[in-house]
């Protein structure tokens, strides 16, 4: 059983400890609390150098030090504090850098409210477990035989058929009914590959709807999207050796993963608001009366500085958009501002939580919006690599990984 070290403050007093344990239990992992004795707490805090007042945060620091002293206590680290606690946020982020410098353990952070979303917890813990348990599978670099990958995203469902390291059929469609959407793209991808709809294939599934689709279609691999999309991105951009960072701005949330030899070793997952997602771009395109596919091209002609837009809240972001149009702003400037706003929020909420490693690869449907990629490049000051058919990152990762399952 995988041991996940919980380094946290406030979970019991917020009534969320049960949810954390439930999520760990669902993925077959166990939450463990690194051993500390009372005498060591003061010393650990002094050595760490962050003079926090909250005793629980002092304990958190001591637990982190304990893990560094004896990494065999756990296989991975889950670090959580209360949302809106300034002292907690400072401690958590200082500890994150410290732990990543001193240990090799995969680590993920989370800020909880009194009602944490089980799905969010589950995906994070599942990814931690996958990195620990399936390292040899994640190391697979070539796709072999005939396999199918399905990525059931919040906005779009994607499917690819791969044969001997090549994509031979692909299809994507909006996610409506989760299962029917998956059936539809699967059928079309098989047709595009010249295979019959009832062809008996090895199948990997990922994305929000992975559990439902996986059980109904009897998939050989059901795996969360963080590790699968990372794998797909590294494969598609031919960057399976060395370091890389993968950005996936999804329909409802965003993922940023750092990779070493194609295997993720750290990740962050956003989702505070749809304002930082592809959904915001869809709404913006709809308000401009154009298809989202055209929004990116239009944005390349505009200047985001001419329109003030803050999509930290999608509703307020659209209000800014409507106001700008009413003031006579040009559609291209508004489109550029929408792209910049999403890129800025991804940067502010996620990219600074991770030590970016080059090359930076962007996948997901939003990578097809050139205005967004340009905005991200301009904020980071780094050229971003977008592979061909970036929307299929998750599906390709699933098809590639399932080929390693006998």
């Amino acid at each position: 059983m995988i041991k996940i070290a919980q380094i946290s403050c406030g979970t019991e007093w917020s009534g969320v400890q049960g949810e954390l344990e439930k999520a760990a239990d669902m993925i077959g992992a166990k939450l463990v609390f690194p051993e500390v004795d009372l005498e060591s707490i003061k010393k650990s805090v002094e050595e760490f150098g962050l003079d926090v007042e909250s005793p629980n945060l002092k304990l958190m620091i001591a637990r982190a030090k304990s893990i560094i002293d004896d990494p065999s206590e756990a296989d991975a680290i889950f670090m959580v504090t209360c949302f809106r606690c300034g002292e907690g946020a400072l401690t958590k982020h200082a500890l994150r850098k410290y732990l990543q410098k001193k240990t090799e353990l995969p680590l993920v952070m989370y800020s909880f409210t009194e009602k944490p979303k089980l799905g969010e917890l589950l995906t994070r813990m599942e990814a931690l477990a996958t990195i620990v348990e399936r390292k040899s599978l994640l190391a697979r670099e070539r796709q072999e035989g005939l396999t199918l990958g399905i990525d059931s995203g919040s906005s779009m469902t994607k499917a690819v058929v791969m044969e001997n390291n090549e994509v031979i059929g692909a299809s994507w469609a909006p996610t409506t009914d989760i299962f029917k959407s998956a059936e539809k793209v699967k059928k079309e991808a098989l047709k595009n590959a010249g295979l019959p709809a009832d062809w008996n294939h090895r199948m990997g599934v990922t994305g929000y709807g992975r559990h439902l689709i996986g059980s109904k279609l009897n998939a050989d691999l059901i795996q969360e999207e963080l590790t699968v999309a990372s794998k797909g991105a590294a494969f598609m951009s031919n960057k399976q050796k060395g370091e890389a960072t993968v950005i996936d701005v999804g329909g409802l949330d965003n993922k940023v993963m750092t990779l070493l030899n194609g295997i993720p070793d750290n990740f962050t997952m956003g989702g505070l608001c749809a304002g930082a997602s592809g959904r915001f771009l869809e709404i913006a395109a709809s308000r401009l009366g154009i298809d989202v596919a055209k929004l990116g091209e239009l944005a390349l002609k505009g200047n985001h500085k001419k329109v003030r837009m803050d999509s930290f809240c999608s509703i307020f972001g659209i209000q800014d958009l409507v106001s700008a149009l009413a003031r006579g702003s040009l559609a291209e400037d508004v489109a550029a501002a929408a792209c910049n706003s999403v890129a800025q929020q991804v940067f502010e909420t996620q990219l600074q939580e991770i030590d970016l490693r080059q090359p930076i690869i962007e996948v997901g449907g939003t990578a097809l919006v050139p205005g967004l990629v340009k905005a991200m490049e301009s904020i980071l000051g780094i050229k971003i690599l977008v592979p061909k058919m970036p929307q299929y990152g998750g599906a390709v990762g699933a098809a590639l990984l399932v080929s390693g399952i006998v």
Partner: protein, 146 residues
């Protein structure tokens, strides 16, 4: 040497550092630049969105905005520091950043830099004040000259 002083707006510390041939790193200089820049308009300090975004290099986005704004200015100053003098538990009148959370982070980041740091308790008597000044003077004298 560039000596960061804490509290970061302490005139007394800045004066001491300068007297002993070093360059004090203090927040007043940065604030002066901002107050005298004509196009910025967010009085009285003119901390703008730019500082809040810059602050993200030092703290996470979930950190309260007041800390991020302070770190947008203090962070780059810490980056420059080659030595630091920290007065612990100083009286408000001696100088302060106005935020206890920022204070602990500033001291933590200075500690991470592996530079010479002098920590002295704020004095409660005249005798202690003399001891404090003597310690600071000794520290500054022992730092290599720029």
């Amino acid at each position: 040497m560039k000596v960061f002083v804490f509290p970061p707006n302490s005139l007394i510390l800045a004066d001491l550092v300068e007297r002993f041939g070093h360059e004090p790193i203090v927040i007043m200089e940065e604030i002066r630049k901002k107050v005298t820049t004509p196009e910025i308009d967010s009085p009285p300090l003119n901390v703008s969105e730019e500082e809040l975004i810059r602050g993200l290099r030092y703290v996470a986005v979930e950190t309260p905005s007041g800390i991020r704004g302070r770190m947008g200015i203090l962070g780059p100053l810490i980056d420059q520091a080659e030595a630091a003098v920290i007065i612990e538990n100083a009286d408000f009148a001696f100088g302060c950043s106005g935020c206890a959370r920022t204070n602990i982070l500033v001291k933590y980041l200075l500690g991470q830099k592996e530079i010479p740091i002098l920590k002295v308790e704020y004095p409660s008597t005249v005798e202690n004040a003399e001891v404090m000044v003597r310690k600071i003077v000794d520290f500054l004298k022992n730092l290599s000259k720029p």
